[in-house]
Symmetry: C2
Subunit: 288 residues, 2 copies
């Protein structure tokens, strides 16, 4: 048996790092070989699963500093056939990469907007006059570094090794406790939980202009003593002020309490979508 | 009397458009002259007010398609001395700008990540093979267009006029109802509401690991019959799974019901911050 895994590319992004961890874990614990496939956006890595180009996608959900990844939430709402089968939590350690420049020579720093935001205090202190230029991933700008003088990029230690580029500063995150949560996603028909699920994620819309609709939905869980680990709103895209709500729930889908909760929830929501039930794997040390 | 207004620059961004609308409105309704000052980030336009470089900042809060603007929420939580004095809702109409290229010649499209996201279906249909390159604002890439062949940028009609560049496609938003809400912010000591406030915004943290803490806070408003128009979570940046909550409330700060609500809210939150009480101005037609 061999598994195909889609992720936001190119090689060296944190999404590839999470996908690589999952590949390694499948091999070690289940003797399963996997192959990684890089896609240019998060939406395209999820579409790869719906169109059966790959069996699995590993996508970022939430960072402890920068918050939710909108494209993941919006795509999962739209792509009905997908389910989360596993959550992964990885530590994020940013480094500054540059070719032949010392820190005081840097005039431009490239990176993904989330990585630039996660290092903003460090950048303001050590390269206060540098232009900060957003790129579409933490590795996209790396190939430009040797060509343009006085440039640097924020990326991972793994990317520096993969592309054979020098690190000129390490541990540059403003908050050392920086983690990102990823979801491993497959077709609903293909979910085979390797662990007993402990969490459930779902999303719902409420009828427009019903005051307190979210409160009613949250009370369902509060009254049953079920804890929620995240509540996130996203616009419906219909009009300003209408939202979808995403809940991460600390209970498996098939528990008696959740069965009660879902029956009650159906009566106070408009559209209710199950995103999946899964366990959480926490990685203590970064992969390098 | 003359007012200084900070906004995300350069000229031609939607933030500048909102600031320009407010300048025009101050002049027409109150005979007040204002001057606009462009800053490179949203955080720096808010800091301009705390450091008294300007009296006011106009910052984006929420787009009907792409959701909340994280940098605005995070900066307002950190900068205690600021208060919202007015909300503005502006329609957003994107156009595609290019120098001497027809649509089928375009190989690269630049824009702010939110604008690229808001036109993703149009782009997939009309320039399916183009590389989409993020820039730090909707106007930042415009100066590069004449220098690089086969490029285009998504920006506003106002930007095309300001920079004297040709529009090759109009109304390219995927959702025609696209609006952005802005907040006009000043020092707390300088708030002089020009209209009677109708809305209040506040933010709070809850003690870590208290199940149902958000539910309790929301129930305060539900029981008093006060409607909430937005509930948004942001990470505390301490550890994954700890959040701040931002509420937009459809009641003025100084109403008897809000006084009751705030007294109850104090008992079920950890840190509670008032962001401001204000009225909402809706602009029906874009400024060009």
């Amino acid at each position: 048996m061999s598994v195909t895994i889609a992720h936001l590319g190119p090689a060296g992004t944190y999404s590839e790092q999470a996908a690589y961890f999952y590949l390694h874990w499948l091999k070690t614990h289940h003797g399963v070989d996997s192959t990684l496939f890089a896609y240019p956006t998060i939406a395209k890595s999820l579409q790869a699963v719906t169109t059966e180009q790959t069996q699995i996608a590993v996508v970022p959900v939430e960072n402890s500093i920068e918050g939710s990844v909108s494209m993941t939430m919006d795509s999962l709402w739209q792509l009905d056939s997908l389910r989360i089968k596993q959550a992964l939590i990885l530590p994020i350690n940013h480094v500054l990469i540059s070719c032949g420049n010392s820190l005081d020579e840097i005039e431009t720093v490239f990176s993904h907007p989330q990585a630039l935001a996660q290092c903003q205090q460090w950048l303001a202190k050590f390269v206060p006059n540098a232009n900060l230029i957003p790129s579409s991933s933490t590795t996209e700008a790396l190939e430009r570094l040797p060509q343009i003088p006085k440039t640097a990029a924020i990326s991972s230690q793994r990317a520096a090794q993969l592309y054979n580029l020098p690190i000129i500063a390490s541990e540059i995150n403003d908050y050392p406790e920086n983690c990102t949560r990823f979801w491993v996603v497959s077709q609903a028909s293909q979910v085979d939980n390797l662990f007993t699920p402990t969490h459930t994620s779902l999303a719902f819309s409420t009828s427009a202009n019903v005051p307190g609709a979210l409160v009613k939905a949250l009370e369902v869980f509060a009254h049953l003593g079920i804890n929620l680990s995240r509540i996130e709103s996203r616009p419906t895209k219909r009009s300003l002020g209408e939202y979808l709500f995403f809940l991460d729930i600390e209970a498996p889908f098939n528990s008696p309490l959740m069965t009660s909760a879902l029956a009650e929830l159906t009566s106070c929501t408009e559209v209710l979508k199950m995103l999946g039930s899964y366990s959480v794997l926490t990685v203590k040390n970064g992969l390098t």
